[in-house]
């Protein structure tokens, strides 16, 4: 660079610096949200928490979630859609239920109830205290987490820490044949332990009540390949939809779901992990098949003028950006499996936004993302990642 070039560069640099300073000074002042200030609680780390009142066999499962997710009406436990990767289903063993988080399940007494609403930011600890207030012998203050008479189980996302302290002992183990690690340590001076299943990117922390071992809870742990709706617990997370493949069954090259399937399993995934699922039959299934049949062939991409595609994940393990953990919804996708009385199922993968291909594909027939598709799918299993405007059809 010549002296003149250096001078010119410095001049522009100075103008840009002044522009930045003036812009910051001119921006409207922003205060820290009042709701945050009201939530002076100790740090929490997981997005899904299961708390169990041990000894008296009473508990509450508290599902804390990301901002903006919908309320969940828990009307029928065995038929309820999974939420946030969690399902609670009755077991064949009377008096027990199995709670599953991203394919990792634990069995607890059915008297341990699942709260019927999402807890929102700022209020989760207070809501938690309300769950406990009614329990005999348990008086958990808002924001407090340590009551020795209360055992709890806490599901933990990804590689977030278990939160154990003291002498830590880590041992290799397997759950349902899947590699896992068990970590023993202390949680608020209580002996506690947790299991981490790397392939599920999930952990479970088990803090027994005083005088208990938690062995029964640990012994009930399982890794499930499918949720209660027949949705695979994990699928490949791909930004590009399949195409130009041989049809899965006759007619699949012409229409996304050919013939008359007996059941449609509609599943939502984030970065390849099950988040929510449902199973459709009868008119509901027919309605979705009709929407898919009317999609114009082709796929779409989001309009890059409306968001920053550079921030999209490139893979589930992408840690190139420090926001990596915070843009998981970019990897949101839907899987619709059509089962037939005879023959192979047809699987339609749907992506609605923001990153990668948008639309639907069964591998041999594609369909553009239309408003009708967005509504049909999100009405069934929601959407958390946003719906982007589209570029012209390719």
């Amino acid at each position: 660079m010549t002296d003149n070039a250096n001078h010119a560069d410095a001049e522009i640099d100075a103008r840009l610096s002044e522009w930045g300073r003036a812009s910051r000074a001119a921006a409207q002042p922003v205060a820290v949200p009042a709701s945050l200030m009201a939530a002076a609680a100790p740090a929490r780390r997981s997005t899904v928490v299961l708390r169990i009142g041990a000894g008296v066999a009473m508990a509450a499962i508290v599902v804390a979630t990301v901002i903006g997710l919908p309320r969940y009406l828990h009307l029928d436990r065995t038929a309820a859609p999974s939420i946030g990767g969690v399902t609670s289903t009755a077991t064949a063993r009377p008096g027990f239920q199995t709670v599953t988080f991203h394919g990792l399940s634990i069995t607890v007494p059915s008297s341990w109830t699942v709260p019927n609403s999402w807890l929102t930011h700022g209020g989760e600890d207070c809501s938690l205290s309300r769950e406990y207030v009614g329990l005999p012998g348990a008086r958990l203050q808002c924001g407090s987490t340590d009551t020795p008479s209360i055992a709890f189980v806490e599901f933990i996302e990804g590689d977030d820490p278990l939160g154990l302290t003291g002498p830590i002992k880590i041992t290799k183990t397997r759950i349902s044949g899947i590699a896992a690690t068990r970590t023993d340590g202390l949680w608020a001076a209580r002996a506690a332990f947790g299991y981490t299943v790397p392939t599920l990117r999930a952990s479970v922390l088990i803090v027994p009540a005083q005088g208990q071992t938690g062995a029964d809870l640990a012994g009930s742990l399982q890794v499930n390949a499918f949720d209660s709706h027949g949705c695979p617990a994990a699928v490949a997370d791909v930004a590009e939809l399949p195409r130009n493949k041989p049809p899965a069954r006759e007619g699949a090259a012409d229409t996304l779901i050919p013939g008359r399937p007996t059941v449609l399993r509609v599943c939502r995934y984030v970065l390849g992990r099950i988040e929510q699922g449902t199973a459709l039959t009868g008119p509901q299934a027919t309605g979705l098949v009709t929407v898919l049949a009317h999609l114009p062939p082709g796929l779409n991409r989001a309009d890059p003028d409306t968001f920053s595609p550079e921030l999209c994940h490139t893979s589930a393990g992408d840690v190139n950006t420090i926001a990596g953990n915070d843009v998981a919804s970019d990897g949101e996708a839907y899987r619709i499996q059509a089962d037939y009385p005879v023959g192979k199922p047809v699987v339609v993968v749907v992506r609605l936004g923001l990153c990668g291909d948008l639309g639907a594909s069964n591998g041999s027939r594609t369909g553009q993302r239309t408003d009708a598709l967005v509504k049909a799918v999100t009405d069934l299993v929601r959407n958390t990642g946003g719906i982007s405007p589209l570029l012209p059809v390719r």
């Binding site: 977030d160 550079e310 921030l311 420090i322 915070d326 946003g386």
Partner: protein
């Protein structure tokens, strides 16, 4: 060029490696970054929605404070990354719910004179150049922080910044 060096940023990161566990402490922790976040939010989503987006981003940061890792970035770069994602969500939802091709108001309210010319010139840069200019000068991120937010190398950031300055010089001279 009057910006923090990588070493200074690393020192800052070490000093701020733990986010306070109390809301009051968190408020103090984010306080030095609020003006930059507000300016960036206004540029991303417009003045009307900027404050809301910042507050939403702060709530997300608070809820996810245990995911902050000082070895992966500074507090400001972490907050900026969350803010950018929040702004993107805001824009996509805004577009979807309004079903219109009209963009939400963007840019700073009422720039004048030299800033108008500069704003126009910045608007004519490539997407990546606009990103690095905005993050470096407006959000006041050091080169290493811009690299962390965008997931690109420091040398790449420097290259884009240099090209952006050269482009701006030509654009401003031509205007």
């Amino acid at each position: 060029m009057g910006k923090s060096t990588s070493r200074e940023v690393i020192v800052d990161a070490v000093e701020a490696s733990t986010i306070p566990a109390t809301a009051d402490g968190f408020a103090d922790w984010v306080s030095p970054h609020l003006a930059a976040l507000a300016a960036l939010a206004e540029r991303q989503v417009g003045a009307a929605a900027g404050a809301d987006v910042v507050q939403e981003a702060l709530l997300r940061a608070w809820r996810r404070r245990e995911t902050f890792r000082s070895d992966r970035g500074t507090p400001r770069s972490w907050l900026v990354a969350i803010l950018l994602d929040q702004a993107r969500r805001h824009r996509t939802r805004w577009r979807w719910t309004n079903s219109t091709s009209q963009q939400p108001a963007s840019g700073l309210a009422g720039p004048s004179g030299d800033r108008v010319d500069l704003e126009r010139a910045i608007g004519r840069l490539s997407r990546r150049q606009r990103q690095v200019v905005t993050l470096h000068y407006l959000a006041d991120l050091a080169v290493v922080e811009v690299a962390a937010v965008l997931g690109i190398s420091e040398s790449s950031v420097k290259t884009h910044l240099s090209a952006a300055r050269a482009g701006l010089k030509m654009l401003l001279e031509a205007s």
